[in-house]
Amino acid sequence: MILLEPRPAPSRLFSLASPLIAIALTLMASAALMAAMGRDPLAALSVYFVSPFQDAYGRAELVVKAIPLALIGAGLAVCFRANVWNIGAAGQFTLGALAAGGLALALPNAAGPLWLVPYLLAGCLGGMVWAAIPALLRTRFNANEILVSLMLTYVAGLLLDLLVRGPWRSPLSFGFPQTRDFADAFALPVLVAGTRLHLGLVLAVLACVGLWLMMTRTLKGFEVRVVGAAPRAAGFAGFSEARTVWFAMLLSGGLAGLAGAVEVSATIGKIQPDIGAGYGFTAIIVAFLGRLNPLGAALGALVLAVSYIGGENAQILLKLPKNVTGVFQGMLLFFLLACDTLIRWRLRLRRAGEA
């Protein structure tokens, strides 16, 4: 019989090793799943997890995929540290895309690089407004932010659908539900010619490094960590829980909104029913994989990006269904949570005769 025994202090080693063990276990379980589906496990895994790295274009695509995940994941890492459970990043992403996209569609003749500034700010603002609703309802009425932010994700999806099928639909789209193309002024510039790697990378790196500095080097970061870990102690220190809820929600909502604005600008240049809001949920895994540390979220985003690109390749090359990616991602979070037990506990064999 194996017992769990508390460690005197949380293990730093296992805090860092746990994501690696979880990734290894996910690979093994994925191979088993492929074999169960009647596929050659090694061939399938090589398409999933090796093919994304094969050429320079593919590697750039990985980073492109990781940009929205890192932006959202870094914000969620701070939010979850504060023990504030913003599960509605997908909705905030959508609202950011709608706010920024609305601006771009209103200015079809815009020219000049400076228009990107109000465009991106509009995205942030859209996400913040959507995140402000659960923040307000939690701080004023004690309503659970998990459920409110999640309900708002469904509302945001319907709002997007309404706009692209109704007032915002392009007259030139032959009935397809999509808006006009944004003016070139609203397209994020490409950083490396021949790839799609865009300016969003700079924003994502700034967000991850900036939030890491904030969490580790500033009083605000300390406040967030104390309120999250020990709310009573935080109260005695004069840190306000309500203020922290507002801060965490607006920060994570603003970054999710920014990610939405970046994503529609850089990858599609218009708004359509599917703008990749699912990143809002995947970013939850990114935050946990990154140890709720904004810098770690950048690494986590790259890992999840591999699963996305690999999944797309497997769909094309192996005719594997796209849901396999979701299964892999879910398993990764399961294994990660299981391995995280070893941070605070160690395994010990129960000796014979011991109670």
């Binding site: 659970n144 459920l147 319907l158 849901n323 979070l333």
Partner: protein, 303 residues
């Protein structure tokens, strides 16, 4: 009026199953946010079994088993390994969405005959009351019977008292010799089985077909219903019917041609959930009176 009442009874059934199961789990101190994932797995498994065997009874049982299997995964992580319950529940939902889509890809677009209705000649079609109250499929009544049974179990039975003790003070319950871990496992598995049956009802009876993500947030609304009901079974039944009425009113609004876009009407259940949460949560005394004191906290026996 009559078709509306009938459609509300049908729409309330998946809410009743899923939310009543979650209520029992939460009363034992376990917050399982994975309802949506468990419902989807129940829905796809039940559909698959009904599609291949043609037996509704087997299909419902399979849905319950699938939900319970997902709940077991949750229980191992959140109860035995003491993982964060919120994160584990989310993992369950992400996994359930992907896995149900993967299992169900061959079932998309396949029709299924709706389940046999309980027909009592002369009674279920003679009068309006007969048509409203009788003449549904068996699961509609099973949901209500289960709700009564849960209410009795929690309020009147010795085991129900033990379950509430575990949820309110795990340490005291342990000191009294109650097995906290076993109680929580049982409650979580019951919650999973009920969520699975709720999902099965969606794919077998509510819309006899399978579609990806067909629960459309009902699992999350069921979670909100438990809060709305302040963890009391009687209020949960009322809440389930109220929310079913709101989801159904939406379709009648579409049919009536109010000039409101369909998407705006479809927002109604989600917005109503938020309003309901605010109304109940603002009264802290009300929520605190019945909320299990140990909700979401892991337990480990010190000795």
């Amino acid at each position: 009026m009559e078709p509306f009442v009938i459609s509300v009874m049908i729409a309330a059934t998946p809410f009743l199953f899923a939310a009543m199961g979650e209520l029992v789990a939460e009363r034992s101190g376990v917050l399982n946010l994975g309802l949506e994932g468990m419902m989807l797995m129940g829905a796809v498994t039940a559909f698959g079994v009904a599609f291949t065997t043609g037996s509704t009874v087997l299909a419902v049982a399979a849905g319950a088993l699938a939900g319970a299997a997902m709940a077991l995964l949750f229980a191992v992580l959140a109860i035995s390994l003491m993982a964060n319950q919120a994160a584990t529940g989310l993992a369950l939902t992400i996994f359930g969405v992907g896995a149900s889509g993967l299992i169900g890809q061959g079932f998309i677009g396949q029709p299924l005959p709706p389940p046999v209705k309980l027909a009592i000649p002369g009674l279920s079609d003679g009068t309006m009351a007969g048509r409203i109250l009788l003449g549904h499929d068996a699961l509609v009544y099973l949901a209500l019977a289960m709700a009564v049974a849960v209410a009795w179990f929690l309020a009147r039975s010795r085991a129900g008292l033990a379950l509430r003790a575990v949820g309110d003070s795990a340490d005291s319950a342990h000191a009294l010799g109650l097995n906290v871990t076993a109680t929580r496992y049982a409650a979580t598995l019951f919650g999973g089985a009920m969520a699975g049956v709720g999902g099965a009802y969606l794919s077998l009876a509510y819309t006899p077909m399978w579609g990806e993500n067909m629960t459309a947030g009902r699992g999350w609304i069921a979670l909100a219903l438990v809060v709305f009901a302040t963890w009391r079974p009687g209020r949960l039944v009322a809440g389930a019917y109220l929310f079913a009425a709101i989801t159904q009113a939406q379709f009648y609004g579409q049919g009536a041609g109010l000039g409101v876009p369909q998407q705006v009407l479809a927002m109604a259940p989600y917005l109503a959930t938020i309003v309901a949460l605010v109304i109940i949560s603002r009264d802290r005394a009300l929520t605190r009176a019945n909320a299990p004191a140990c909700l979401g906290r892991p337990f480990r026996a010190d000795r």
